[in-house]
């Protein structure tokens, strides 16, 4: 770089160093490509042709390459024709065309100079002035040949394949495939419906041997359980012992599998993927808050899939979180408003609660709110508690953390409960105090949201001493059975809201399905209740409510619903 002619003004203190770039041409278009790109571990590595093509907005087909896995370079699908600037061997100067542009030497076979020699874009670093021909005739021929080879032994059972609709083999066949097969020999048959592990079924005939699953298990999940056996015509992906592929991340291999070889026992043959409505959401199984896409159809949740967020979960999620969705559709979901065991209406029950809470003397109310509620709901509950001088707390839920994603905190929103003032540094420390106050008769009204308090220090006998037990929950439990006022709530998949994860990432999630029966999102009826009890106006939209909360809760200062992207923002915890 040449020095500036005049002393430059001092740069802004936080200005990042300029990204060093390299100029290459992709399909005739000149692009500046950063010299390095993060590899699968985030370490800077020389930019590859595939990354350069992406900078030019060109997607090079591939199977084995994955941004977050070590490069294997085995599928050959990303082969492209390319050229580099010619250099005069004597003068070491670039050879120029008549118009002054550098002369490009296309890569050819050394022993057959008329034949283009491709390079795999996923593993070939770019060099200055390189030209990548991602749509040239030679490139297309190479792609067609690779695809034809991959399809030689493929069973072509797309109509009954779970991957159909999201299969790279199908997609690239549409672009580069041939209508008929030239293969007249007998296909190699390989094991079908192999019980690889408790959650995974493998069809070896559909496999293209890209080894993404092997690399994921070994390098990401740390469970070197998969390999290729019988190398040769009969090579198959296999575990040492069938049925024993059982770490908590195995289902990621189903996402990674570019074809229909690895399928989820939970999802296979249940639903065609193109019928699924995709809603952006957040997993609630622990405090990590992995970003997910909820797949639902006609009000039924069929699957969770990880949604890439490098600030939280990367492209992965754990199996236990992924499969923890069936409770949403359980038949025994609470779906009726009950006042003292009798079916009531929202307006009547809320009216009754408004009167009771308004009249309650200071200190006679306590609130136990789950850290599974949304931040907005916890904020409204705190408002309600503040008005009635109530003691508040939430319930701690601890498990064992693992080295990848699972957090020890099994609540999705412990930090939301802390930041809104529902709980304190240690969740649950005030519950004995609340139980004692009920026993002593000072607390006569208990508000419980989303927890079975009989399991967390307030036994049923103590609850029986209350005048009012106002409970909102999703599924029946010992506490809901004792409620004087029972309001059916909504699962996270049935409402919008935010959670703050263990690291302070505030993430919003969207509604996928409707709540069953009379059940409503808690923030909706809490808004009405807070309005009735405090006399203050609130917001009847989640956007308005969030923005109001952001104005009042210091940790969220300056945030707006519309400004939280799909991957969330960091807040100070």
């Amino acid at each position: 770089m040449s020095a500036p002619a005049q002393p430059a003004p001092a740069p802004a203190p936080q200005a990042p160093p300029p990204v060093e770039t390299m100029t290459v041409k992709v399909n005739g278009k000149t692009v500046q490509v950063p010299k390095t790109h993060p590899d699968w571990q985030g370490k800077p590595q020389p930019a590859t042709m595939l990354q350069a093509a992406r900078c030019a907005g060109v997607d090079i087909p591939h199977y084995c390459y994955h941004d977050k896995l070590p490069v294997a370079g085995n599928c050959r699908m990303c082969l492209v024709e390319f050229g580099t600037p010619m250099m005069d061997p004597a003068t070491r100067k670039p050879v120029l065309n008549e118009d002054g542009s550098p002369k490009i030497a296309k890569s050819v076979l050394p022993y057959e100079p008329g034949t283009p020699r491709g390079a795999i874009a996923c593993a070939t670093p770019i060099s200055p002035g390189m030209e990548i021909y991602a749509d040239s005739k030679a490139t297309l021929q190479m792609r067609e040949a690779v695809l034809e080879s991959l399809l030689i032994n493929h069973p072509l059972d797309c109509p009954i394949c779970d991957q159909a609709g999201e299969c790279k083999l199908q997609e690239y066949s549409v672009q580069h495939g041939q209508a008929g097969s030239r293969f007249v020999e007998a296909k190699v048959h390989k094991p079908k419906a192999v019980d690889l592990g408790p959650r995974i079924v493998l069809d070896d005939e559909r496999c293209v041997l890209c080894t993404r699953c092997i690399r994921f298990s070994k390098d990401i999940a740390g469970d070197d359980a998969l390999g290729i056996v019988n190398r040769g015509s009969y090579n198959t992906i296999s575990a040492f012992e069938t049925g024993k592929f059982d770490n908590n991340y195995t289902l990621n291999t189903v996402d990674l599998c570019p074809v229909g070889a690895l399928t989820s026992k939970d999802f296979r043959f249940k639903m065609r993927v193109w019928f699924l409505k995709e809603s952006k959401s957040v997993c609630t199984s622990c405090g990590t808050g992995c970003n997910i896409t909820i797949g639902s159809r006609e009000g039924v949740v069929h699957c969770y899939e990880p949604r890439e967020n490098d600030a939280v979960n990367g492209p992965w999620m754990c199996d236990s979180g992924r499969l923890n969705y069936k409770w949403i559709g359980r038949a025994d979901r609470l779906r009726e408003v009950l006042v003292r065991g009798t079916r009531s209406t929202w307006s009547a029950a809320l009216q009754d609660l408004t009167v009771r809470l308004s009249k309650a003397p200071a200190g006679s109310v306590a609130v136990v709110a789950s850290s599974r509620q949304t931040t907005e709901e916890l904020y409204l509950l705190k408002k309600l508690a503040a008005r009635t001088g109530a003691t508040t707390d939430s319930v701690a839920r601890e498990g064992e953390a693992d080295r990848l994603l699972v957090a020890a905190d099994r609540n999705p929103n412990s930090n939301g409960a802390r930041l809104t003032g529902i709980s304190f540094t240690e969740a649950g420390i005030r519950i004995p105090e609340i139980a004692a106050a009920i026993e002593a008769g000072t607390v006569k009204t208990l508000v419980v949201f989303g927890e079975d308090v009989t399991k967390h220090g307030i036994p049923a006998a103590t609850l029986a001493k209350l005048e009012t037990l106002f409970v909102s929950d999703i599924l029946p439990n010992a506490t809901t059975a004792l409620a004087t006022h029972l309001l059916p709530g909504a699962a996270h998949a049935e409402k919008r809201g935010t959670f703050v994860n263990v690291k302070g990432r505030l993430q919003k999630f969207m509604k996928a399905v409707e709540a069953p029966g009379d059940a409503r999102p808690e923030w909706e009826f809490l808004h009405e209740l807070v309005h009735g009890v405090t006399g203050q106006n609130g917001y009847s939209t989640i956007e308005g409510l969030f923005n109001q909360m952001a104005r009042e809760v210091p940790a969220f200062a300056g945030l707006e619903w519309a400004k939280i992207g799909d991957t969330g923002v960091d807040v100070k915890i």
Binding site: G227, R231, S238, A239, F240
Partner: protein, 163 residues
């Protein structure tokens, strides 16, 4: 566990391991030695090797399945390897193998090596045995038979049955 490696073999293998810059490189030597001793490489042998070399069993199992000389099942006492490469194929090694199989009650069209239920014979097709000039050739245990006729084949079977 019923699988035990004799201590002299284990110490021999431990010594072999020291010849390699990384332990993993000794895998093939382990498998050869274990097959030599036990007659085949069992799943237990794979697990034992993996444990000794700090590997996962699948890493060793990949090797075992790659090399045709490693056996995952016990072999018959008489191991008949019929060459199927060009010269032998032209000289009728296909019919020869079929003869061995049908005489022993084995499937003449099966792809993989087959062992008789009494454990006396294993018959398989192999690639070139490097004696094309005397095709067809058959390797019976360690002994190479040249220009094998139907009568020679029957003699091999007779000898094996008596063994």
């Amino acid at each position: 566990m019923s699988f035990t490696v004799p201590s002299h073999l284990e110490s021999e293998l431990d010594e072999i391991t020291t010849h390699y810059p990384v332990k993993r490189s000794a895998s093939l030597m382990f498998l050869h030695a274990l097959q030599e001793h036990f007659g085949y490489v069992s799943k237990d042998a794979v697990e034992w090797t993996a444990r000794k070399l700090g590997l996962q069993p699948i890493n060793v199992y990949e090797l075992v399945t790659f090399y045709p000389m490693f056996r995952q099942e016990p072999l018959g006492k008489t191991h008949v390897k019929v060459c199927r490469t060009l010269s032998c194929a032209l000289q009728g090694s296909g019919e020869l193998r079929e003869r061995f199989c049908s005489k022993l009650g084995l499937d003449p069209h099966a792809h993989a090596p087959q062992t008789t239920p009494d454990g006396k014979f294993t018959v398989e097709f192999v690639e070139c045995l490097a004696s094309c000039g005397t095709a067809p050739v058959v390797l019976v245990n360690e002994e190479l038979h040249h220009k094998v006729s139907s009568a020679d084949a029957d003699a091999i079977l007779q000898k094996g049955k008596a063994a």
